[in-house]
């Protein structure tokens, strides 16, 4: 549905988007994740035809955005970061304007009424947009994107500035729309992407550094998917006891945590579930276990880890992806990694 091929965008000499390629199939709900200034909004602005680009190809439903912008734009509903609202208009009046602007063919008042009900703004239909709260404005912008029922929805941080109840409502709405729309969503709220999207594209410094399902990303980065246990015991004895459990690769004590309990980080061998075995072993030894938890990595941690990497190649390496680079940068990179590790040690 959306095809982006080696897309680059320069602002003057600043490379905002650097050779980005991805393709989104019909009906997919894809999340764009990245720190501020990563190029998410720029990519969205390019796909919607608001900005042009320096190099590459962008097509929507097989229609090139440069060759036939009108036809391509007809298929897209866009909610930019700041909803583009004429604040001197009333809500309904604005939506009628968008309807005319997009040259929609559905029965006008029925179509707009339906959209207003869907995003729950029918109660403010006759109020001036300038008198509405941020949450309502956001929803009016969302309604504008839905006018004409376009196949593709591009939503740039759709829940920013909403209260928790509204966030859940919008999130549910996106999930519902995801059943028969292709959606690209960018967000800083990572749990949102985890909840709504089946695929995540992580963007950093204008490049794609990861493109996968949230679960797969977690798995790829979970090399320290350790268990953490707090046990009232003797430190050295317990390390021995735990190490003897089948499937345990490594046991490290992080010291006395509560007044009398030590905390242990237990690393399992790959693809082994050692939770039951560890629990039973501790029980057999007659010691008391105060807590037992998995350090499963969240999308938030993936995001931080990838975007804080010294550069994008390092981030790709974390994911075990292939990357091309000359030996010089590789050795440089290793130095960076080493120094970072040293830094971490001193922190501890």
């Amino acid at each position: 549905m959306i095809e982006v091929k080696s897309l680059s965008k320069k602002y003057g000499s600043y490379l905002a988007v650097d050779d980005v390629s991805f393709s989104i199939k019909k009906g997919e709900v894809v999340g764009f994740l990245g720190p501020n200034g990563a190029g998410k909004s720029t990519i969205m602005n390019i796909i919607t035809g608001y900005l042009s680009f320096t190099k590459g190809d962008v097509s929507v439903d097989g229609i090139d955005i440069i060759d036939n912008p009108e036809a391509a734009k007809k298929r897209i509903g866009y909610l930019p970061e700041i909803p583009p609202l004429y604040t001197d208009m009333k809500v309904k009046e604005y939506l009628y304007f968008v309807y005319d602007l997009k040259k929609v063919k559905f029965p006008k008042s029925a179509h707009i009424d339906e959209i207003m009900r869907l995003v729950k703004i029918d109660n403010v239909a006759n109020r001036l947009i300038k008198n509405l709260s941020k949450g309502y404005r956001q929803r009016v912008g969302f309604a504008g994107a839905l006018v004409g029922n376009p196949d593709v929805l591009i939503l740039d941080e759709p829940t920013v500035g909403l209260d928790p109840k509204q966030i859940i409502e919008i999130r549910n709405l996106i999930s519902r729309l995801g059943k028969n729309h292709t959606i690209i969503l960018s967000s800083h709220i990572l749990s949102e992407i985890q909840a709504v999207c089946k695929r995540v594209i992580i963007i950093n410094k204008g490049q794609i550094i990861a493109d996968d399902t949230p679960d797969n990303l977690a798995e790829k980065l979970s090399y320290d998917n350790t268990l953490s246990a707090k046990i009232v015991c003797d430190e050295d004895d317990m390390i021995k006891t735990l190490s003897s459990v089948e499937g345990v690769k490594n046991v490290v004590s992080t010291g006395l945590k509560d007044s009398n309990a030590f905390e242990f980080n237990i690393t399992p061998e790959k693809d082994t579930d050692i939770r039951a075995a560890v629990f039973n072993k501790v029980k057999e030894s007659g010691k008391t276990m105060l807590s037992f938890s998995s350090n499963a990595i969240s999308l938030e941690q993936i995001f931080l880890r990838l975007t804080e990497a010294t550069d994008n190649n390092e981030a790709r390496r974390m994911l075990g992806l292939d990357f091309e680079e000359n030996t010089e940068t590789e050795s440089e990179l290793q130095n960076n990694t080493e120094s970072e590790e040293n830094g971490n040690d001193s922190d501890i």
Binding site: G49, L51, E70, P80, P84, V98, L101
Partner: protein, 233 residues
């Protein structure tokens, strides 16, 4: 284009701008009319010509937020991501401003009817002068739109447009200051006021029509380019 035209036209009357501009036109037309009426002159073309001063000061108000506001409020995103051509956006906005401007001259139709009841008038003289004023308005609005598209601030846009308006209308006054004779001749011919005056002389001057229309077209084109350029920046 019609959607944008309708929105912009209504926007003039949602804010005080439309009312203020029309009030200024009606007020000065009324004053001038009562003056020429008291002098017993049946010719409305001098009245229309006198309006060019009011036009100089009101067109910047009409055009100041036409393009700049979209950029400031980010509403250009809804326009530029809709299936509308840039030309459509610019023309829609242009005709909205032009219609408000044209409505400003509506009372002169009534004046002409009143005058024609008492004396035999040359209706063409009035029509030509009105054409001159409308063409002048079109040219000034297109210039104002280009200036508005170059800035995000309506105030800067208004001030710049006012300065440019005074310059293009009355540059013939400065022509004597230029010593080189052909440049001085060009300046006095190119001044908009000379073209407007020629419409008042009871002739439909084709070169002046072409002059104003080509100025309008050129600046509207530049305005489209200015929108386009921002997308490529």
């Amino acid at each position: 284009m019609t959607a944008i035209f309708k929105r912009e036209f209504k926007a003039y009357f949602r804010t005080p701008i439309g009312y203020i501009v029309l009030a200024a036109y009606f007020l000065f037309l009324g004053i001038y009319f009562s003056l020429i009426y008291s002098y017993g002159s049946p010719d409305l073309s001098s009245l229309l010509l006198a309006m060019s001063v009011v036009v100089t000061f009101t067109v910047p108000v009409l055009t100041m937020r036409l393009m700049s506001e979209d950029r400031r409020q980010k509403t250009d995103q809804v326009l530029l991501t809709s299936p509308v051509k840039l030309q459509g956006i610019v023309l829609g906005k242009f005709f909205a401003a032009f219609c408000v401007y044209a409505i400003g001259f509506a009372p002169t139709v009534v004046f002409e009817i009143i005058v024609s009841r008492y004396v035999a008038v040359n209706i063409f003289s009035y029509i030509y002068s009105l054409c001159g004023m409308l063409l002048l308005g079109a040219a000034l609005i297109s210039i104002g739109m280009l200036i508005s598209s170059l800035t995000e601030s309506p105030v800067i846009s208004a001030i710049l447009t006012l300065v440019v308006n005074i310059l293009v209308l009355y540059m013939s006054s400065f022509s004597s200051m230029v010593k080189i004779s052909w440049i001085s001749a060009v300046i006095s011919k190119a001044a908009f006021i000379s073209a407007v005056e020629s419409f008042g002389e009871n002739i439909l001057s084709i070169p002046d029509i072409i002059y104003f229309l080509s100025i309008t077209a050129a600046f509207l084109f530049l305005c489209v380019r200015s929108l386009e350029r921002r997308r490529w920046a």
